[in-house]
């Protein structure tokens, strides 16, 4: 099932390494990602992909790159769509 979610990451998030890590993980998991907002303490990312892989992306980014410390992950909205297996 394809899903679209917007996820907010908060913590110590230097923008460059966090964005690079997000792009790398999104490419690996075939998840479409769009950075909606970002500063040194917060990143909001919209994700579209298979639900299981979107969850895998969230989990990967909750661990973050070495330069970052993610303190909280929160879903802001969810929109599920059908059928892509």
């Amino acid at each position: 099932m394809t899903t679209t979610v917007t996820v907010e990451f908060t913590g110590d998030l230097p923008p460059a390494p966090f964005a690079a890590f997000a792009a790398h993980r999104a490419a690996r998991l075939s998840v479409v990602h769009e950075v909606v907002a970002q500063d040194a303490g917060r990143a909001v990312i919209r994700l579209t992909g298979a639900a299981a892989l979107v969850e895998a992306f969230e989990m990967a980014l909750s661990l973050g790159p070495a330069e970052c410390l993610v303190r909280d992950v929160r879903r802001l909205e969810t929109a599920s769509g059908g059928g892509a297996r």
Binding site: R28, L29, S30, A50, A52, A56, R85
Partner: protein, 218 residues
């Protein structure tokens, strides 16, 4: 890294098994599927970074020990057990090295390594892990061969040292694990006597190379 480097005895990786090696601080997993060809990948699961060398082979796939993600010989993730119905995207892949099996050894190469060496079959003897730089071990072998086996006649130099000694023909490949650690992989021309001769010789070689390495560092 460029070129090809011997990293293990081929006989030490039977079909259906997994082994980890370190080449100049790069961690590499070696594994064979049931059909026998070797595979060499970066030793990290793309999922959570677990060492794939901790995993196991099932149905000709390398399975990560952590969450059971399964990778086929083409490096693609074929199954995520937590989501068995998921059509796993082809972007989830292990990172391959080039690998070749020749001369009784497993060799890994960089992407631009070109053709691997073409060597005759050889009898595997043993791998020897030393707390010394690879150059120290190779210099020792070039000058005196294996301790206690008499005069040495150096036949070939390069990634593989080949020498005749004590009536046997030895070939020794080596790889650098780190600045002060290396592994030597010894093969011979196939006589059982060479294997018997090797036991005391390798123990003495280990002592000599370690002493030389410590002397150089002091």
């Amino acid at each position: 890294m460029s070129g090809w480097t011997p990293v293990a005895l081929a006989a030490d990786l039977p079909p259906g098994t997994v082994a980890g090696v370190v080449l100049r601080s790069e961690e590499i997993v070696l594994w064979r599927d049931g059909a026998g060809p070797p595979h060499a990948w970066k030793d990290r699961c793309p999922h959570r970074g677990m060492k794939l060398s901790f995993g196991f082979v099932r149905r000709d796939r390398l399975v990560c020990l952590y969450h059971g993600w399964e990778y086929g010989a083409d490096t693609r993730c074929a199954l995520i057990p937590a989501h068995p119905d998921l059509d796993v995207p082809e972007t989830i892949r292990a990172t391959p090295w080039q690998v070749a099996e020749t001369g009784g050894l497993l060799w890994v190469g960089s992407r631009d390594a070109g053709q691997p060496p073409d060597l005759p079959e050889a009898m595997p003897l043993r791998s020897l892990f030393l707390d010394a730089p690879l150059d120290t071990a190779r210099t020792r072998l070039r000058s005196g061969g294996l301790p206690g086996l008499g005069e040495v006649d150096l036949i070939g130099d390069g990634p593989l040292l080949r020498f005749a000694q004590g009536g046997h023909l030895f070939a020794v490949g080596g790889h650098e694990i780190g600045p002060a650690a290396c592994a030597l992989h010894l093969t011979s021309d196939g006589t059982a006597a060479a294997r018997a001769a090797l036991v005391p010789a390798t123990a003495a070689l280990r002592r000599e190379v370690r002493a030389q390495s410590r002397g150089a560092a002091a």
